[in-house]
C-alpha cells in the first residue's frame, strides 16, 4: 500500500483492500429467516394502516408483513411488486424513517417502529435472488411506446406498460440502464450489483427493448419519437448540476458530487478510486451525504459537509445525517462557500457563516481542502421539452404533459419529492393512464 489517509493530494489506495471491502459492505445486512419472523411478528396488522398511506406507492404493508410471518416471503414479494416493481431498491434507499416507519403505530407508541424497510428487502430479495419474475405479459396490443430514461420512473412505467401487452423501447443516455439506482446512490446501499440485477430481473417481463447511449438532442428527438411511437414517457431525471457561483470554482479538484458517486459505483476496484486528504462537500441533501460518507470510507483524513442553513432544514434525512456523523464526517451548518483558493488546484475553501435566512454574518473561516464536491442540487436539461413549471416538466396527476401523447414522471417532472419511490409511483401511474388512453 503506497498511500495512507495522511498522504497529501488526491490519491488512490489510502486504505488497503480489506478495509475498503469492509467499509463498502452492506449498510443494513439482510434479515435471516428467523430475524424476519421476529421482526414481522411485531406488526399489529393495523386497520387502514398508516404505513400504507405514507408509502408513495401504496404498498399493502400489513399484508406483506403477515405473509412473511406465515412463511411465504414469495407471496409477500408479490404483494410489494404489485405496487412497486422496484420494491427491492426502495427497500434499500427509501428514507423509511420519514415515510412508512415514521407513522408506524409502534413508532408512535414506543419510538421503535416495525422494520418495514428491512422486511421489504427480505421479501423482495427472495424473488430477485431466485430470478423468479412473478408477472406475465398480457397478449400483445401491437402498440409501441417510447420511454426516455431508464431510471426508476422509466423502468417502472416500462414494466407496467409491458405487462399490459404493449411493446416498449427504453432509451438511456448512459451505457447502462438503472439511472440513479445504478449511478446515483452510495455503493453501500446497493451491494453485489443489486441495481443491475434488479434491472435484469425487471426485464424478464418481456416486451421491453433497452437502447443505451441515446438521449434527447443526441440521437433522439421528441418529434421523432412522437411520430414513431403511440405514446412517449419522459423519465429523464435532472442532468445538470448547479454551480457554486463563487470565485475559483474552476480550479482542479472542484468536482460534481454526482460524477464522483457515479464513478465510484462503476469502479471495479475501489483501491483505484482517488480521493483527497481533506475533502469538503457543499450541500445538504442525500447526494451530499452519499459523497461525504463515501469519501470518508475511501480513506480521506478529513471530510466536512457544509450546508448553508440549519441542520433541521437539510434535505438529507436524520438517519443520513447520523450515518455521516458516525462515519466521522464533520457537518458544518449555517455556512456558505465564499471562494475557492489555490494555485491551479484547490488548496482551501473560504466559508462565510450565514443565519437561518441566509443573511451573511461577515464571519468567515477557511478549511483546508484538496478536493471539493458540489452537491447543491440538479437541474433539468434539454431543449424543446413540454411546458415547464418551477424548472420541471409540468404534469397533472396522471403524468400528462402539455403535449398530447407525452407523459413524464420522476425527478424531471413536477409533483412529489425527488425520491426513488415517488418516481416509481409516478412511472406506474403514468403507465396506467397511457394504457387507458391507448385502450380507449
Amino acid at each position: 500500500m503506497s498511500n495512507t489517509p495522511f498522504s497529501n493530494g488526491i490519491q488512490a489506495a489510502r486504505l488497503d483492500s480489506v478495509e475498503l471491502t469492509e467499509n463498502f459492505g452492506d449498510l443494513h445486512p439482510r434479515f435471516d429467516d428467523h430475524e424476519a419472523l421476529v421482526a414481522s411478528d411485531r406488526c399489529y396488522f393495523c386497520h387502514d394502516a398508516p404505513c400504507m398511506t405514507a408509502c408513495p406507492t401504496d404498498i399493502d404493508i400489513p399484508l406483506f408483513i403477515r405473509q412473511i410471518a406465515t412463511g411465504t416471503p414469495e407471496a409477500a414479494a408479490k404483494t410489494i411488486f404489485d405496487q412497486n416493481i422496484l420494491g427491492g431498491m426502495c427497500a434499500r434507499v427509501c428514507p423509511t424513517e420519514t415515510l412508512c416507519e415514521q407513522v408506524c403505530v409502534r413508532e408512535t407508541a414506543e419510538g421503535n417502529p416495525v422494520e418495514i424497510g428491512r422486511l421489504q428487502r427480505y421479501a423482495t430479495d427472495k424473488l430477485v435472488d431466485a430470478g423468479q419474475h412473478p408477472f406475465e405479459r398480457a397478449a400483445s396490443t401491437g402498440k409501441k411506446i417510447a420511454v426516455v430514461g431508464a431510471g426508476p420512473a422509466g423502468l417502472s412505467a416500462a414494466h407496467r406498460l409491458a405487462m399490459h401487452g404493449h411493446d416498449i423501447t427504453v432509451y438511456d443516455a448512459r451505457a447502462k440502464a438503472g439511472g440513479l439506482n445504478e449511478f446515483g446512490i452510495a455503493a453501500y446501499k446497493s451491494v453485489e450489483s443489486f441495481a443491475e440485477r434488479e434491472v435484469d430481473w425487471l426485464l424478464k417481463i418481456g416486451g421491453i427493448t433497452v437502447e443505451t447511449g441515446k438521449k434527447l438532442g443526441d440521437g433522439l428527438s421528441l418529434e421523432g419519437l412522437k411520430t414513431e411511437f403511440d405514446a412517449v414517457f419522459l423519465g429523464i431525471g435532472l442532468g445538470g448540476v448547479n454551480a457554486l457561483g463563487v470565485d475559483g470554482e474552476d480550479k482542479d479538484g472542484v468536482d460534481d458530487a454526482v460524477d464522483f458517486i457515479a464513478e465510484l459505483r462503476q469502479a471495479d476496484d475501489l483501491s483505484k478510486m482517488a480521493i483527497g486528504r481533506d475533502v469538503v462537500v457543499i450541500g445538504g441533501g442525500m447526494t451530499a451525504v452519499d459523497a461525504a460518507v463515501q469519501a470518508k470510507l475511501l480513506g480521506a483524513l478529513n471530510v466536512s459537509l457544509v450546508y448553508r442553513r440549519g441542520k433541521d432544514r437539510m434535505n438529507a434525512s436524520e438517519f443520513e445525517q447520523d450515518l455521516a456523523a458516525s462515519k466521522g464526517v464533520r457537518i458544518i451548518t449555517n455556512a456558505s462557500p465564499k471562494g475557492v483558493i489555490g494555485n491551479g488546484a484547490v488548496r482551501e475553501i473560504e466559508l462565510e457563516y450565514t443565519d437561518n435566512d441566509l443573511k451573511p454574518t461577515g464571519q468567515t473561516v477557511r478549511l483546508q481542502a484538496d478536493q471539493v464536491f458540489k452537491a447543491i442540487g440538479q437541474t433539468l436539461e434539454g431543449e424543446g421539452l413540454p411546458a415547464l413549471e418551477w424548472g420541471k416538466i409540468k404534469v397533472d396527476d396522471s403524468g400528462r404533459t402539455s403535449v398530447d401523447g407525452i407523459w413524464a414522471g420522476g425527478d424531471c417532472a413536477t409533483g412529489g419529492d425527488d425520491l426513488t419511490v415517488t418516481a416509481v409511483a409516478e412511472g406506474r401511474d403514468a403507465a396506467e393512464d397511457i394504457h387507458a388512453k391507448l385502450s380507449a
Partner: protein, 434 residues
C-alpha cells in the same frame, strides 16, 4: 418473607413446586440436579412392572407449537413410562431420598389392571422411603393401547377399583393422576374419591397432533413417515387444566379432595392461579423442559413476593380462595352492565379494536378521519373483544355503569338488584315468572 413450606396430603416439601412425572424425573442424576436447583418435590418418572422394561421410539418423541421468536407454547410427546429396569430406579430413588429427606419424593406407578400386580409392586417401591404414590391413569399414548394409563383413567369403575387396591396395599398417601381426555372430569375424580384415594393430580396430557408435515403428509412428530397422537402440554393447555381443577374444587362431593394442579404452569403467577382455584400444590414439567431446572427460582421468588404483598403467610392461606367465585353461567348477574372505554392518551391508533368490532362484532366503535377511535355506547354490548385485541395493555377498559345510569343500548336504567337468567322473563323455565 412468606413461608413456602408446603404440606400436601401429609407430604412435606420446602415449597409447593414439584416436578411432574416425566422425562425430567427419570433418573437420579436429573432429580439431584432438580433438588439442588430448588424444586420442592419430584414425582419420579412412572415405574412399570418388573421384567424387561418398555422400549421407546428411536425417532423424535416431541412435537411443538411455537409462538413469536420460537417461544414454545405447546409440547406434545409420545414417550412411554420409564424404559429403565425397575430395580435400577428403585436403587436410585432410595439413594436420593436418603440424601434429601426433606424433599418430597413420589413414585408414579403404572402396571396392568390386575390386583396382584398393584399389590405386589407398591410395597416394593415403598422400601425406597418414598413419600407417596401417584397412580398414572393419564398417559394418553402408547400405554393406553395396552390397557393402561388413560385407558384406565377413562373408566371411572377401574379408577375406583385400582385406587382401592392401592389403598389396601400401602399406608402411604395415594394420588390419582387424571386424564383430561374425558367428557366430564368429575366422574373420574369422584371415582378416585370412592376408591379411597387421598388426592387427585391433574391434568395429564391431552390427545393431540401438533402439526402436519405438508411435504411428507404425515403428523408430527413423524417416525419413518408415520405419526401418532401424543400428549399435549405446556402453556397452551393451562386454561383447560384450570377449568378442570375448578370443576373438582367446586363440586360439593369432591370439594374436600386435595388437588395437585398440573397443566402449563410456567411462572409463579400460573402456580398462584391453580392454588387459588383449589390446588394444594402444583406440578411442573414443560417449563423445566424448556428452560431447565433453574426456572423454579423465579417461581419461588415471585410467589413469595406476591404473598408478601397480599399478606399471605403460607400457601394454605389462599388455597381455593377463587373457587367460590366460579359459578354457572345461569347465576351471572345480568344487571351488571359495562361499556368499553378507550383511553385516548394511551391509544396508538392501530385500529385493531375497530376492525374487530366492525367486522366481527357489534359495530360499536367509531373511527374518525384522523384515526380517533371511540366507543358507541348505544351499540356496545361489552363483549370485551376490543380489550383483548388491543395491543396496549389497559388502553381499553370496561367501565361499570352506576345503578340508575342509562344503558344507551337498551334505553333502560341500570337496576340495583342482582338478577340472573333463572329469574329472567325471557327464560321459559324462569322461577320468578309466576
Amino acid at each position: 418473607m412468606a413461608n413456602l413450606e408446603s404440606e400436601f396430603v401429609g407430604i412435606k416439601s420446602p415449597n409447593p413446586f414439584w416436578l411432574a412425572s416425566a422425562p425430567p424425573t427419570d433418573k437420579e442424576y436429573n432429580v439431584r440436579r432438580a433438588f439442588e436447583a430448588g424444586w420442592g418435590g419430584v414425582v419420579w418418572k412412572t415405574l412399570g412392572a418388573e421384567g424387561p422394561p418398555v422400549v421407546n421410539v428411536n425417532g423424535p418423541r416431541y412435537g411443538a407449537i411455537h409462538g413469536a421468536d420460537r417461544r414454545l407454547l405447546g409440547l406434545n410427546n409420545i414417550e412411554l413410562i420409564t424404559d429403565r429396569p425397575l430395580e435400577v430406579n428403585l436403587e436410585e430413588m432410595a439413594r436420593v431420598k436418603r440424601d434429601y429427606p426433606d424433599h418430597a419424593l413420589i413414585a408414579s406407578v403404572m402396571v396392568p389392571c390386575e390386583e396382584d400386580e398393584w399389590k405386589r409392586i407398591l410395597p416394593m417401591i415403598a422400601e425406597t422411603g418414598c413419600d407417596g404414590f401417584e397412580l398414572n391413569f393419564g398417559c394418553p399414548h402408547g400405554m393406553a393401547e395396552r390397557g393402561m394409563g388413560a385407558a384406565v383413567g377413562q373408566v371411572p369403575e377401574y379408577i375406583e377399583m385400582v385406587s382401592r387396591w392401592c389403598k389396601e396395599a400401602t399406608d402411604l398417601p395415594v394420588i390419582v393422576k387424571l386424564t383430561p381426555n374425558i367428557t366430564n372430569i368429575l366422574h373420574p375424580a369422584e371415582a378416585a374419591l370412592r376408591g379411597g384415594a387421598d388426592a387427585v393430580s391433574l391434568i395429564n396430557t391431552i390427545n393431540s397432533i401438533t402439526t402436519v408435515n405438508l411435504d411428507a403428509m404425515s403428523p408430527e412428530p413423524m417416525i419413518d413417515g408415520k405419526g401418532t397422537h401424543g400428549g399435549y402440554c405446556g402453556p397452551a393447555v393451562k386454561p383447560i387444566a384450570l377449568n378442570m381443577v375448578a370443576e373438582i374444587a367446586r363440586n360439593p362431593e369432591t370439594a374436600k379432595l386435595p388437588i395437585s394442579g398440573i397443566g402449563g404452569i410456567t411462572t409463579w403467577r400460573d402456580a398462584a392461579e391453580f392454588i387459588a382455584l383449589g390446588a394444594g400444590n402444583v406440578q411442573v414439567c414443560t417449563a423445566a423442559m424448556t428452560y431447565g431446572f433453574k426456572i423454579v427460582q423465579e417461581m419461588i421468588s415471585g410467589l413469595s413476593q406476591w404473598m408478601d404483598e397480599k399478606g399471605y403467610e403460607s400457601t394454605a392461606d389462599f388455597v381455593g380462595m377463587a373457587t367460590p367465585n366460579v359459578t354457572d353461567w345461569q347465576y351471572l348477574n345480568l344487571n351488571h352492565i359495562t361499556k368499553a372505554e378507550i383511553n385516548q392518551d394511551d391509544c396508538i391508533s392501530c385500529g385493531r379494536c375497530y376492525a374487530a368490532c366492525e367486522d366481527t362484532s357489534h359495530q360499536a366503535i367509531e373511527m374518525s378521519e384522523d384515526r380517533v377511535f371511540t366507543v358507541k355506547d348505544d351499540e356496545c354490548v361489552a363483549c370485551n373483544l376490543c380489550v383483548n385485541v388491543c395491543p396496549v395493555e389497559n388502553c381499553i377498559t370496561m367501565r361499570t355503569l352506576e345503578t340508575g345510569e342509562l344503558d344507551e343500548r337498551t334505553g333502560k336504567p341500570v337496576e340495583a338488584d342482582y338478577g340472573n337468567w333463572t329469574a329472567h322473563p325471557n327464560n321459559p323455565m324462569s322461577t320468578a315468572a309466576e
